[in-house]
């Protein structure tokens, strides 16, 4: 087990944890938190796969991709939070409605 395998496994588990929270909880803010955790998991997998040669410097292309992804994640989170606040203003509830037909 090397460092990169450990962190990529952590990334996969984070992705699954975030995915479960995304579909299990109804409150919008918890869904946005879950999406951020999923994003962090994916970034961990990408960067740990770039670390595969610890003798030399790591591969810089996945680093640049993850940096781009981090900034895009923060702008998507900001937009999602503004949308969630609007949903609460218009429907007076911050949770998605429970599906009665299930």
């Amino acid at each position: 087990m090397s460092v990169s395998i450990l962190y990529s496994l952590v990334g996969s588990v984070l992705f699954s944890l975030g995915f479960y929270s995304l579909i299990a909880y109804a409150h919008l803010l918890r869904k946005i938190l879950a999406i951020n955790i999923m994003g962090s998991g994916v970034f961990l997998i990408l960067v740990s796969l770039a670390y595969r040669w610890p003798e030399t410097s790591p591969d810089p292309v996945p680093h640049a991709m993850v940096l781009t992804g981090l900034v895009v994640a923060v702008s998507a989170t900001a937009l999602a939070l503004a949308l969630a606040c609007r949903v609460q203003e218009t429907t007076s509830s911050a949770q998605l409605p429970e599906d009665e037909s299930d």
């Binding site: 996969s12 699954s16 579909i23 040669w53 292309v61 900034v71 923060v74 503004a82 606040c85 609007r86």
Partner: protein, 236 residues
Amino acid sequence: MRPFPAKLIIILLLMALTGLFAWAILSLPLNGTSLRTQVFANIGHSGVSNPVTAVLLNFRGYDTLLEITVLFLAVLGVWSLGTIHIPDLLQPAGLFLMALLRILLPAMMLTAGYLLWAGAHAPGGAFQAGAVLGGAGILLLLTEVRFASTIDWWPLRTLLSAGILVFSGVGLGSMALGGRLLEYPRDWAGILILIIESAATLSIGVTLMVLFVGGKPSKADGTVSMKSTGQREDKT
């Protein structure tokens, strides 16, 4: 909350998914291909010596241009969703925060400037510097409530788009000089990257500050604002 059997099925499926990821990762070859060799072969021509900055601003410059555009689009989206009455959101700060701001704000601006400059040869660059500036802007918003009403001021709004304008200007300019889009002339690559990064830093800092406010600030004399019924009504 879902009924119990559905939750169990979801958990089992997610465990299978995690197992699939683990199997995929563990079955990767020991020495696969990577783009390291190409990057380090061409880094002398890129104008900077930090490989991540070279990839971000030179080899994959188009991705960075689109990323800055995504930030701008987020501001457009947030501003079109509704207005914010600033006194509802921010309150005058206590003495401790004001004293802290006096120490922190110059230090943060200096750190941002250093990160921007050091991005060429050490870890750093436009995004890190812009993020520190954004943090400084958020602190300023939380402390000085009057500052929040200047978000609508036109120089600040110009700074929001400065990053995209400078970046695409440099790209189109290099096309006009006979190359392809974003193909910097070899001797000027370092200087051009610094110019693009400076504009991007200011732009990112102001963008993060504006995203924190979370909406278009309503004017003090009370103009339109969207109420919960979705109809426009004028505040008198």
